[in-house]
C-alpha cells in the first residue's frame, strides 16, 4: 500500500515544511502520493510533481479549499484514505490542526510529531518537550502520523515528473467561516525556523534593554527569543517565548543572554546545534548545555560582541 502526504501550501507555493515531511514519508514507504487540496493551485500541483520522491500527485481544486479549513480538508481526505497505509502531515500548526480530526474519524490513535522513522509502524518521538524520547509502535492497521519538520532534511524539488490526477471535491462545512489572516511581516526570520536565535532573559532587567539583543539580532539576521521569566516580567511579548510552554527551537546557533537556564527554558532550545551562554553567574544551569560559555556582564559583553561582529568581513546569513 502507498502512503499519502497532505501538502501544505498557500495556493501558490508548497510550504517548506512539506518538503521535510516528504523526506520522512518516503522513509516509511517509497510509493509516496501527495494530496493537494486547494483553490486555483495548479502551480502548486506542478511543483509537487517535480519533486523526485513524489510518485503521484492527487489534486482537488475547489474554491471551498482556499483557506485550508480543517473540516473541509478532512472530508476530502477521508474520501481517499482507504487506499493508503499511512496518512501523513507536517507537525506544524497546519498539520496539528488537521490530522487529529482525520485520525478520529478513521478511529486511529495518531502518532504525533515524530523525529525518526524506525520502521513503517515504529517511530521515535519526543515527549515532555524533548526531555524524554519515546519509541512507539502503532498497532492500528492504518496510521496517522505527523512529522517534526526540523528532524528531516528537505526533499529535492527538481528533476521529478510525477503524474497529476485531478479528483473531485468533497462536501463543505457550513459551520466554519474564514474571516482573515494577518501574516506577521517581519524583516527578521521567524523564531521557529531561524538559523540563528538570540534570546534574552531576566538578566536584561528591562524591556528597553532588549535593544542590546535586537542590535545583535539585526547584525546576525537572527530571530529574537526570550525566557519565560523575561516574558512574565513584561520585557517582551510572549510570542518570543522559548521553552516548554513557548516555542521549541532548533537553530544552528542559539545565544542565551542573561538566561539562567530553568528546566522549562532548556526544554525549548537544548537541541540547537551550537549553544552560546552569556551570563554573569558562573554557576547558572545554562552553562551545562552551552558549547561556549562566557561568564560576563551582558551590558558589557553584548556591545563588545556587536563590535567584534562588525569587524568580521563576512557573516553567514
Amino acid at each position: 500500500m502507498s502512503v499519502l502526504l497532505i501538502a501544505e501550501h498557500n495556493n501558490k507555493e508548497v510550504k517548506p515544511f512539506t518538503l521535510n515531511a516528504i523526506t520522512a514519508s518516503s522513509q516509511i514507504d517509497q510509493d509516496l502520493h501527495v494530496l493537494l487540496i486547494g483553490s486555483k493551485a495548479d502551480d502548486v500541483a506542478k511543483s509537487l510533481s517535480e519533486i523526485p520522491l513524489v510518485k503521484k500527485v492527487l489534486h482537488i481544486d475547489h474554491e471551498i479549499y482556499e483557506n485550508y479549513i480543517a473540516e473541509n480538508y478532512t472530508a476530502a481526505i477521508l474520501k481517499h484514505a482507504d487506499k493508503y497505509s499511512h496518512i501523513i502531515c507536517s507537525a506544524n500548526t497546519f498539520g496539528k490542526n488537521l490530522m487529529p480530526r482525520v485520525a478520529a474519524l478513521l478511529d486511529i490513535s495518531q502518532v504525533s510529531d515524530i523525529i525518526k522513522v524506525i520502521s513503517p509502524d515504529t517511530f521515535l518521538r519526543p515527549i515532555y518537550a524533548g526531555n524524554a524520547f519515546a519509541t512507539v509502535k502503532s498497532n492500528d492497521e492504518k496510521k496517522c502520523v505527523t512529522i517534526r519538520p526540523t528532524s528531516f532534511e528537505a526533499a529535492e524539488t527538481t528533476g521529478g515528473s510525477a503524474e497529476i490526477e485531478k479528483i473531485d471535491a468533497a462536501d463543505q462545512t457550513e459551520n466554519t467561516k474564514f474571516i482573515n489572516r494577518e501574516e506577521i511581516k517581519s524583516d527578521r526570520p521567524e523564531l521557529g525556523t531561524a538559523r540563528i536565535v538570540i534570546s534574552g532573559g531576566r538578566g536584561l532587567q528591562s524591556g528597553e534593554n532588549f535593544k542590546l539583543i535586537t542590535d545583535v539580532a539585526d547584525k546576525l539576521n537572527a530571530a529574537i527569543g526570550a525566557s519565560r521569566a523575561a516574558v512574565d516580567a513584561g520585557y517582551i511579548t510572549n510570542e518570543h517565548q522559548v521553552g516548554q510552554t513557548g516555542k521549541v527551537v532548533v537553530p544552528d546557533l542559539y545565544i542565551a543572554v542573561g538566561i539562567s537556564g530553568a528546566i522549562q527554558h532548556l526544554a525549548g532550545m537544548k537541541e540547537s546545534k551550537v549553544i552560546v551562554a552569556i551570563n554573569k553567574d558562573g554557576e547558572a544551569p545554562i552553562f551545562s548545555v552551552a558549547d561556549y560559555g562566557l561568564e560576563a556582564d551582558l551590558f558589557e559583553a553584548l556591545p563588545q560582541f556587536l563590535e567584534e561582529l562588525n569587524k568580521l568581513n563576512t557573516i553567514q546569513k
Binding site: 473540516e71 500548526t93 497546519f94 496539528k96 490542526n97 487529529p100 480530526r101 485520525a103 478520529a104 474519524l105 486511529i108 490513535s109 495518531q110 504525533s112 518521538r125 515527549i127 515532555y128 524533548g130 526531555n131 524524554a132 524520547f133 519509541t135 512507539v136 509502535k137 462545512t173 457550513e174 459551520n175 466554519t176 467561516k177 474564514f178 474571516i179 482573515n180 489572516r181 494577518e182 506577521i184 540563528i196 510572549n238 516548554q244 510552554t245 513557548g246 530553568a262 528546566i263 522549562q264 537544548k270 537541541e271 546545534k273 551550537v274 558562573g282 552553562f287 548545555v289 558549547d291 561556549y292 560559555g293 562566557l294 561568564e295 559583553a301 560582541f305 567584534e308 561582529l309 568580521l312
Partner: protein, 249 residues
C-alpha cells in the same frame, strides 16, 4: 450558555523530568503535579465569559486516576461551578479521552467545550480536534482571542504565518493557546468554597468506551546528552570560536 472545560493533571512544568532506568516511562512518584498550563487558560477564559454575563454554568471535567480530581478541584477554586471526574487507571490515549469526552458532552449538552491546545506530558495535541470530529462540531484550535456572539464565536488562532481569524457556529470546540489570557490564582476563601462544590465521579468502564492503548511504548529513554562545552575568556575569543571552530557565523 454552558461551557465544559477539560483539564489534565500533568507533571509540573518546572520539574526536571527523569526517565526510569528500565525504560518504561518517566518518574512520577513524589513529583509535583499540576494542571496542564494551557488548560488553566481554558478555565480562565470560561470564567471570564461567565463574568461577562455570557455563560451561565462552567463544568470542569478530567479523565484520569484518582488524584486527577485535584485538577478539577483547582478549576472549581478559580470559578468553575461543578466538576466531573472520569476515573480510569493507567495510560490513556487522546483518542480514548476524546471518546469519553464525547459521552460527557452528550450527557451535559454544553454549547462550548474548551481545553488546552496540548498537554505538556505526551505533547500529542490531538484531544480537542478528535472530540470535534466525533461530535461533528467545528473546531477552533490554538485560540489567542475569543469573541462570543449569539450563536457563534469569532476566534483568533495562532498559526505559523501569524494570526488567523475564523468564525465558528456553536456548539464548538476551542483549544486554547497560552496567549489567550493570564490565568488567575485561586484565593484562599475560594479554595475553601471549592471544597463544597460537587464533583461527580464516573468510571470510564461504565461509559462503554474502549480505552485500551493502540500505541505501544517500546522504550522511553533520555535524549542524547550534549557534550560538555567550554568556557571562553573573552568576547573576542567567543566570536573567533563561532567563526572558525563552530563555523556558524
Amino acid at each position: 450558555m454552558k461551557i465544559l472545560v477539560a483539564v489534565k493533571r500533568v507533571i509540573d512544568y518546572n520539574v526536571q523530568i527523569r526517565v526510569k532506568e528500565d525504560g518504561s516511562g518517566v518518574v512520577t512518584d513524589n513529583v509535583k503535579m499540576s494542571t496542564n498550563p494551557p488548560d488553566d487558560n481554558a478555565i480562565e477564559e470560561a470564567v471570564k465569559i461567565k463574568e461577562a454575563g455570557k455563560a451561565t454554568e462552567i463544568i470542569a471535567v478530567t479523565v484520569g486516576e484518582e488524584k486527577a480530581q485535584e485538577t478539577v478541584r483547582k478549576a472549581l477554586a478559580v470559578g468553575a461551578d461543578r466538576g466531573i471526574h472520569v476515573k480510569v487507571d493507567g495510560n490513556i490515549e487522546p483518542l480514548a479521552v476524546s471518546k469519553i469526552l464525547k459521552k460527557i458532552v452528550e450527557k451535559e449538552n454544553p454549547d462550548l467545550v474548551f481545553m488546552g491546545k496540548q498537554a505538556i506530558d505526551d505533547d500529542c495535541n490531538q484531544t480537542g480536534q478528535m472530540l470535534a470530529a466525533h461530535l461533528n462540531w467545528p473546531q477552533a484550535t490554538f485560540a489567542s482571542k475569543i469573541e462570543v456572539n449569539d450563536k457563534s464565536l469569532q476566534v483568533t488562532r495562532e498559526v505559523d504565518e501569524g494570526l488567523e481569524t475564523i468564525e465558528v457556529n456553536t456548539p464548538a470546540i476551542v483549544t486554547c493557546d497560552l496567549r489567550l489570557n493570564e490565568p488567575r490564582y485561586a484565593s484562599l476563601p475560594n479554595i475553601m468554597k471549592a471544597k463544597k462544590k460537587p464533583i461527580e465521579q464516573i468510571n470510564a468502564s461504565d461509559l462503554g468506551v474502549d480505552t485500551n492503548p493502540r500505541i505501544e511504548h517500546i522504550k522511553i529513554e533520555e535524549p542524547p546528552k550534549r557534550k560538555a562545552g567550554i568556557k571562553v575568556a573573552s568576547v573576542e575569543e567567543l566570536v573567533q570560536k563561532l567563526k572558525n571552530e563552530a563555523k556558524v557565523i
